[in-house]
């Protein structure tokens, strides 16, 4: 008996409600594409995306499919395949709310939640239009007498609580611990999320905690509410250390996504692939 909760992709999707704030991992930390298909199939209208710190095809597809009402991110891009067309069009037309941010702010807001404090200070950023357009951010005069400079303007960022985080990883052990290796931003994301579901390439008949070094590479099952075994679960994105991205497919997507109609065409194929 596996001592963790096994979920199907559908069961994971059933944990998500319209309006939820979803944690979205970067392309290097395990994009849950198989899950994203199920999510699009369910037909959400008002998902809010919190990217740590950016998204590629996952975010563009969700936006193109009309599932997203708001996105907080440092960037949406298809990398070497250019701009994210559905994202760009949705922003240009005002179809989604964009909360432009910057990588360190997206990390810091989750660190605030990780520590259960209402805000986190950050240096830099002040004076940019990124800062000026964020009404939820605040600048105060440094209140700390024992550190920093008097009257220095300090940017405060609010704690952000993710409702549900889903990411894809190489493997889990039999106790539900997830191997994340150097992708420690996934730990911060998990700490700041109410529910965490992970799709994995495989479940290993081992216990990562039996060895100090392998323990160091994992996210403890303590933070994981359910696991689904999905082969090639990141396709066509890469799963670092396991498989590269399918550049042919992403290129195909990047071309199809240029117009709404060819995007829709592509998605018909993709959702049934």
């Amino acid at each position: 008996m596996k001592s963790f909760e096994e979920f199907t992709l559908k069961e994971i999707v059933d944990q998500i409600e319209d309006g939820f704030l979803l944690g979205i991992p970067a392309d290097y930390s395990g994009v849950p594409m198989a899950f994203t298909k199920e999510l699009i199939n369910k037909g959400f209208k008002n998902l809010r995306l919190y990217c740590l710190p950016l998204t590629t095809i996952q975010g563009d597809m969700l936006i193109g499919s009309g599932c997203v009402s708001e996105i907080e991110t440092a960037a949406v891009t298809l990398g070497e395949f250019g701009l994210a067309p559905r994202f760009s069009e949705a922003v240009e037309k005002g179809n989604i709310k964009i909360k432009d941010s910057t990588c360190p702010a997206l990390h810091a807001q989750l660190q605030a939640t990780e520590k259960s404090v209402p805000f986190m200070p950050l240096r830099g950023v002040i004076g940019s239009d990124v800062q000026k357009n964020r009404k939820d951010w605040q600048i105060i005069s440094n209140p700390m007498k024992s550190a920093g400079v008097e009257n220095e303007p300090i940017l405060l960022l609010p704690a952000v609580q993710i409702d549900v985080l889903v990411f894809h990883a190489a493997c889990a052990d039999r106790n539900g611990n997830i191997q994340i290796g150097r992708r420690r931003e996934l730990a911060t994301l998990a700490h700041a999320s109410r529910k965490v579901f992970v799709t994995v390439e495989q479940v290993l008949e081992t216990d990562f905690f039996e060895d100090e070094l392998s323990a160091a590479t994992c996210l403890p099952s303590l933070y994981v509410d359910g696991i689904s075994e999905v082969k090639n679960g990141a396709w066509p994105c890469m799963l670092p250390g396991v498989y590269p991205s399918d550049n042919e497919e992403i290129k195909k997507y990047s071309l199809a996504a240029k117009t709404k109609s060819s995007f829709d065409e592509y998605m018909k194929f993709f959702l049934n692939s």
Partner: protein
């Protein structure tokens, strides 16, 4: 000899010249030329028995970090990164950069990916090198439509870092913090200060040492083609193949 040298090789060489005093150079996403320049500087430092650390985020081999995606920014904020590269959809005469889009925000006429880490990195890394290959009034503008990160800040703001250089296909500018203005420092072979003035949307000074970009010598070319090319092919295979056929 110069006919054999590719435009990209000249740019790599220009950037490498700016890294000789560094201990740690970091290179962000989608930056094959800065990445190659950093590795070139690292190889050349080895010949001088010096150590230059290069962190290339796009690579797993040249990524020195183990604390997740946050570490680049923490590390930079700690003052442990000497040089970083930033680009821009638009760059203006005060060195403001725009990575977000053209037209009125938020419903920009043309939306680009976003600001990435620039709003922090521009403040904390002592030497930021702006790099944008296209040199035109469209990219080098008088005033950016959106400030992803400002070129200058008032004195009360914590800002140990900021813009030092701007390199394009046509020229190298040095940024002067005092008068908040670029000055033209080097020209590519077919340019003059007049052609640059025509193709630049902002006002700039002419540096007293204005000269042409120097071509990499044989030794540097050897290192670039024999040592650096295979390294670059690990993380930018298409670029390495296009330039060096590796």
């Amino acid at each position: 000899m110069t006919i054999d040298i590719k435009r990209e090789e000249l740019l790599i060489s220009q950037l490498a010249d700016l890294l000789i005093n560094d201990n740690h150079v970091a290179v962000g996403a989608a930056s094959p030329i800065p990445g190659a320049a950093a590795l070139l500087a690292k190889e050349e430092a080895r010949y001088l028995d010096k150590r230059l650390r290069v962190t290339i985020l796009h690579s797993s081999r040249y990524n020195n970090f183990t604390d997740g995606a946050r570490e680049l920014f923490d590390c930079a904020a700690q003052g442990r990164i000497d040089t970083f590269f930033l680009g821009g959809v638009q760059i203006d005469g005060q060195a403001n950069i725009n990575l977000v889009g053209t037209g009125k925000y938020p419903h920009t006429k043309k939306r680009f990916p976003g600001s990435f880490g620039s709003p922090l990195m521009y403040f904390v890394v002592p030497q930021i090198i702006l790099f944008r290959e296209e040199h035109s009034p469209r990219t080098l503008v008088q005033k950016v439509d959106f400030i992803s990160a400002p070129g200058v800040s008032d004195d009360k703001i914590y800002r140990p870092g900021g813009p030092k250089y701007l390199l394009t296909n046509r020229a190298l500018f040095k940024f002067n913090k005092k008068n908040e203005k670029f000055s033209l420092l080097k020209l590519n072979e077919n340019e003059t200060s007049d052609t640059i003035t025509k193709l630049t949307g902002f006002d700039f000074d002419i540096h007293e040492d204005l000269s042409y970009m120097s071509w990499p010598d044989n030794k540097r070319l050897d290192i670039m083609r024999n040592n650096v090319a295979p390294m670059v092919s690990e993380f930018y295979p298409e670029f390495a193949n296009k330039i060096w056929g590796v």
